[in-house]
Amino acid sequence: MVDNIKRSLLVSIWFVFLTFPLMVVKVNTLKNIVEWRWINMLWVAIGAFVLSIVWRWAMERRQLKNKKAEQGEEESVLPGFGQRLLEDPKIFKPVLIALALVTLVFPLVVDIYQTNIMVLALIFVVLGLGLNVTVGLAGLLDLGYVAFFAVGAYTYGVLNSFFGFGFWISLPLGGLMGALFGIVLGFPILRLRGDYLAIVTLGFGSIAKIVIENWEEVFNGAKGIANIPRPGFFGAEMSIHTATTYTYYLMILMVLFAIFITNRLKDSRIGRAWMALREDEIACVAMGVDMARTKLGAYAFGAFWAGLAGVIFASRNTYINPNSFTFMESALVLSIVVMGGMGSIIGVIVAALVLILMPEYLRAFAEYRMLMFGAVMVLMMIFRPEGLIANVRRKYAGRKVVTEDANARG
């Protein structure tokens, strides 16, 4: 322990030295003097010291854990938190009820600004759930996911401004357009893997934005499309406040819908094929799984949710322009999936809420958002590569289990 403190002190002094010119010395060009900001030095020293201590502690714990795992103690003794939460109805039920209540009353107790942010967070939950299928389940890295989000948003924007289509017709159309683009863009990249796949999908994301920016006649270029109507309710007139609350509840329904459907797919022939494809493509195909079909299905399914989310995004903002669909958004959704835990539905929801709400409520940090994402990603990869909430192992109630139960009773 003393050793740890000594080392951390050294680290802290080293950091003070390194950041001295940056943090302490400031040349004031107006008054032509040098300002010495000694207080910053103190902060750097304390910060580096604390971080170093935490780092050491975490590293030690990790080593201990690895050692235990090697001796085969760990996993079997303590199933993951996520698994316990799901398997124990005593914890699961009350938590679920409490969550449902909070969700229901949320827009009634907070102001419209907060509701609006929450709608955005929920949109990202849906995006995360969608990308979670492509990346987490099927293992197809997609750095251009925002393209499908844009497809959805612009489907609504264009259909509305040209043909006066309403929200409710555009919603499924946006989803279908997303899926269609997923298939079309999926074709050329079927054979790519790993880094190549990442680069090409990254390109798709950028291309989507450039096309939107430059095709003035249809997409109105950089000016964007304005006056997009909010979701309607049988043509009822709604104040902005009611409309926002209404959108919020819509989003909740949408998230539930997404959870329901992704869950069903996960526990199905299709979902298992996606996972197998992620685990070992050659073996998967050799076991009779059609690679092209399965991959395109995963792309299309992921893109479908991005399309739906895009339509809602457009209606929430009532205004879209290309700047809402940059690589930042792709990276954000990918961070959500990685942080939540590949393939884990609850993990993705938690991560989306954290990553979207945190910068909104901690305004001071908003500027350093990307920096913090980077730090969080690195830390996650080191300490919890399986994500916040690891994917739950599925158990199948087979004939064997049934007969065992019968034996136990008899």
Binding site: I261, R264, L265, S268, R269, I270, G271, R272, A273, M275, A276, E279, D280, I282, A283, C284, V285, A286, M287, G288, V289, D290, M291, G297, F301, R393, R394, K395, Y396, G398, R399, K400
Partner: protein
């Protein structure tokens, strides 16, 4: 004289009764750039047979499997299959999922399980090509989907029972001991309802007891499940024990074929293996 009388019925068998052959490979050749990994190798497997393919390291045995199962497209030659039900066809260049759907399933020399899926799920993947649930079907989960899912689970448990892995059904595949992983690969391949099972060194890394159990398992699969077997193996005791016929390859060429007795005494084979370790 006895030499001749032995080969004669062999030839007439393949020639006169083509419908009594499951897999018929003729003059298969595979080049990797300038390297000829397989050079005009012919091989056939008849129903109810256990056929072994042996040879020193690097002889081209795995490459042969890869060509037959559609992982590589052979440079030359013909791979004909005659399924017990269904039409005969030439399957050169078919994708490996199509080959599997036709009814030939394989295991891998370097184990290729789905490590982060459970043992049961690994076997369930094998059922993929025999079930039909689509994305929409999986979402709606109608009665047909549920029935297929139930059957898949049932069949998979059955197979796990047959290879002795039922107790590990909910374990991750990566947590299984080595020998069990090899048996899981066999169960997964069997789940695709094959008429021919291609096993690439199933005994590699197994201890003598495990090898003995595997020996029995393979014979049982042939006798009970009516699945014919093509087997690559270095363990000569296992090969000699269970094979009906043996093909020997060296440097991509077929140097001998015949019954275990013939092969044991074939001078060419002995020579090929002399430089090798005393595996044989």
């Amino acid at each position: 004289m006895p030499e001749v009388s032995k080969t004669m019925p062999e030839v007439s068998k393949t020639m006169a009764e083509p419908d009594n052959v499951l897999l018929d490979v003729k003059d298969l050749t595979m080049d990797f750039g300038g390297l000829r990994a397989i050079d005009a190798v012919s091989l056939n497997v008849c129903p109810g047979e256990i056929v072994a393919l042996i040879g020193p390291n690097g002889a081209g045995k795995t490459t042969f499997f890869n060509c037959v199962t559609g992982i590589y497209k052979p440079t030359n030659g013909a791979v004909m299959v005659h399924p017990p039900e269904g039409k005969s066809q030439k399957i050169n260049g078919f994708k490996s999922n199509r080959v599997t759907t036709i009814g030939m399933a394989r295991t891998f020399q370097n184990i290729r399980l789905f490590q982060n899926m459970t043992v049961l799920e690994n076997v369930m993947i094998g059922r993929h090509c025999r079930t039909t649930t689509s994305i929409i079907g999986a979402i709606l989960r109608g009665s047909k989907t549920r029935r297929q899912e139930r059957e898949t689970i049932e069949i998979s448990y059955d197979l796990l029972e047959k290879v002795g892995l039922v107790d590990f059904a909910d374990e991750f595949a990566k947590n299984l001991p080595y020998g069990a992983q090899r048996r899981l690969e066999i169960a997964r391949a069997m789940a695709t309802d094959p008429f021919l099972l291609l096993l690439d060194e199933p005994a590699a890394g197994m201890n003598p007891q495990e090898t003995k159990a595997l020996d029995e398992l393979i014979v049982r699969i042939r006798d009970k499940e009516k699945i014919s077997i093509l087997l690559i193996e270095h363990d000569m005791k296992l090969v000699m024990n269970i094979s009906d016929r043996i093909y020997v390859m060296e440097y991509g060429k077929e140097i001998a074929q015949g019954s275990p007795m013939d092969i044991r005494n074939n001078p060419k084979v002995i020579e090929a293996y002399l430089g090798e370790d005393a595996d044989a």
